[in-house]
């Protein structure tokens, strides 16, 4: 495990800075509703570097208007869809929110499928679900039922201006949502222009089968998925730190957005029902 300070701050889209959930809403199956919160199931491991000025002062990214050169605050910019060259339709947050019919704002599990039957092509990102106060029993009921039947629940729902296809898995009594790609977001071999399948000679197939058998392991060991890039970066950082070369210190108010949060402790707290 990397020391706490080496973890990258939360990606803006994760917005788990300060321990806030990514999303809070309702999970339903049948007429049973389970109010839940979503927290990312992965930390961003990439060692992010900060942009600094000539004196080592941390810099900020800012929008500016090209014609006037004037910096713009967030309330001076809007979201626009380009309908024709340099012609935009402005769409507000409120409109995006209102465009989602009420029933689409819940994760309504209308279907359950064998948990291992979904091809990995679909999976995008994982989130743990934690029960809201008072919904622990319904949460456990769903988790235990899915665990026993080895089923995953499927739903589509709208969150933050985007519709998501999700599969909900029960993982040792804890519910986990995996967002998935829609079928029309995956290309087919024909889309790519891959050649049609040619029957391979039996001897060649069995040569590969032997190669596979010779290197087969019973279990997957994630420890092999090391991040060499971060490792070597951290090594260099240590070396430079020891030599005190290129170390700068600036007086900086600790801004809460940049504070590193420990996702595991946030999740544990949220699962235990403590605020």
């Amino acid at each position: 495990m990397l020391p706490k300070a080496t973890r990258k701050k939360a990606e803006p889209e994760d917005e788990n800075a300060g321990g806030r959930p990514f999303w809070s809403g309702t999970l339903t199956f049948g007429l049973v509703s389970v109010p839940v919160s979503l927290f990312p199931a992965a930390r961003s491991n990439r060692t992010s570097l900060r942009m600094l000025g000539p004196d080592g002062q941390p810099l900020a990214r800012k929008y500016f208007a090209e014609n006037t050169g004037k910096d713009l605050d967030v309330d001076e910019v809007v979201r626009g869809y380009e309908v024709a060259k340099e012609k935009y339709v402005i769409v507000t947050d409120e409109e995006l929110e209102r465009l989602a019919p009420e029933k689409t704002r819940d994760i309504d599990l209308k279907q359950f499928v064998p948990a291992e039957s979904i091809p990995p092509l679909y999976f995008e990102r994982g989130y743990f679900l934690t029960p809201a106060a008072g919904s622990q029993k319904a949460y456990k009921l769903l988790a235990e039922t899915m665990d026993e039947s080895k089923l995953a629940g499927i739903a589509t729902f709208v969150m933050r201006g985007k519709e998501y296809l999700v599969a909900i898995f029960s993982d040792k009594g804890i519910l986990r949502a995996e967002t998935m790609r829609f079928a029309d977001e995956l290309r087919s071999p024909a889309d790519i222009g891959l050649p049609k399948k040619k029957e391979a000679p039996k001897a060649t197939v069995s040569k590969f089968e032997k190669l596979i058998a010779g290197k087969s392991k019973k279990q997957f060991s994630p420890a092999k998925l090391t991040d060499k890039e971060s490792d070597s970066l951290l090594k260099l950082v240590k070396k430079k730190q020891a030599k005190r070369s290129n170390v700068v210190k600036v007086d900086e108010e600790v801004d809460t957005d940049h504070k590193v949060v420990d996702l595991v402790s946030i999740l544990k707290k949220s699962l235990s029902g403590k605020k």
Binding site: T26, G30, L31, A41, L49, R50, M51, L59, R61, A65, D71, G80, Y81, V83, I90, V91, L96, L99, T104, Q111, S117, L121, T130, P131, Q136, K137, K140, E144, T145, M146, S149, K162, L165, A167, K172, I174, F182, D184, E185, L186, D191, I192, P195, K197, K198, P201, V205, F208, S216, K217, K224, L225, K228, E229, V237, K240, V247, V264, L267, S272
Partner: protein, 261 residues
């Protein structure tokens, strides 16, 4: 229209090499917006400023730093970062194979198609062998100055390479504790099981459509013509009743639906 390969490499299984081309398997259909200057309704640009003075800092004066503790940075020069880059290579090293479904969904990041580069015989033979043995290869490779870990899999006769997340990145359920609170009763569990089984089926991905995307696009088109419809405000949520009575009602209404169908 055929897609362009984004990279060329060689699958390396021991002494055997299978040349392949890599293509993205994903076609993102998210509605893309631009950030506009509200006054001029023109696209904005971004630059880096010193938050204290508000002055722009030009690119050539920007340094990159790794924060070792709040407010203390180790500067990494351009040369430092270049030296950290992995040596270029075309090899996709397949280090071992595991049975399919041993890798949990959480690890998968992005799928790529592999297509044959030249000879097709080895390509389709390897795909067939992976399918016959129901196994998946664990791969390491360097692409565009970055290290990658991934999984090699055959799906419907074609080879796929998935990038996998790093070990430090994924939070496993083992690290967490189950929620506290009262356990459901046997009766409730039996009813929930019955309910879930009534909703059980096969995974048919084409049945799920991104209707919201269509709704947003339709709204944009109408607004472009100056005929934006009035949208209803979002209402607050309602509460629900006791667990066992809700379960019984759900089962009853599903039965009714099935009978009607």
């Amino acid at each position: 229209m055929a897609a362009r390969a984004i990279w060329k490499g060689e699958l390396k299984l021991g002494a055997t090499k299978v040349p392949v081309k890599l293509y993205s398997a994903v076609q993102d259909r998210t509605v893309r917006f631009h950030i506009l200057d509200d006054r001029a309704k023109k696209r904005v640009k971004q630059h880096m400023i010193d938050p204290d003075s508000g002055d722009e800092v030009p690119n050539e004066e920007i340094q990159k730093g790794y924060e070792i503790e709040p407010g203390r940075y180790v500067i990494l020069t351009k040369e430092d970062l270049e030296n950290l880059e992995p040596p270029p290579s075309r090899d996709i090293d397949i280090v071992e194979f595991v049975p399919q479904a041993k890798i949990s969904q959480q690890w998968y990041e992005r799928p790529y198609y592999l297509g044959p580069d030249g000879d097709v015989k080895d390509y389709f033979a390897l795909a067939e062998a992976l399918q016959n043995t129901e196994s998946e290869g664990i791969a390491h490779w360097v692409m565009r100055n970055k290290y990658y870990s991934g999984a090699l899999r055959a799906v419907d006769d074609y080879l796929f390479l998935f990038t996998l997340r790093d070990a430090n990145e994924v939070i496993l359920a083992d690290e967490l504790t189950k929620p506290a609170g009262a356990a459901p009763t046997q009766k409730e569990l039996a009813m929930a099981k019955q309910l879930v089984e009534m909703l059980e089926g096969e995974f048919k991905p084409k049945e799920y459509k991104d209707e919201y995307r269509e709704r947003v696009m339709e709204f944009i088109e109408k607004k472009a013509k100056g005929r934006a419809p009035r949208l209803k405000a979002v209402k607050a949520k309602r509460k629900t009743a006791a667990l066992d009575s809700v379960l019984a009602k759900s089962i009853a209404s599903l039965r009714k639906e099935k009978r009607a169908a």
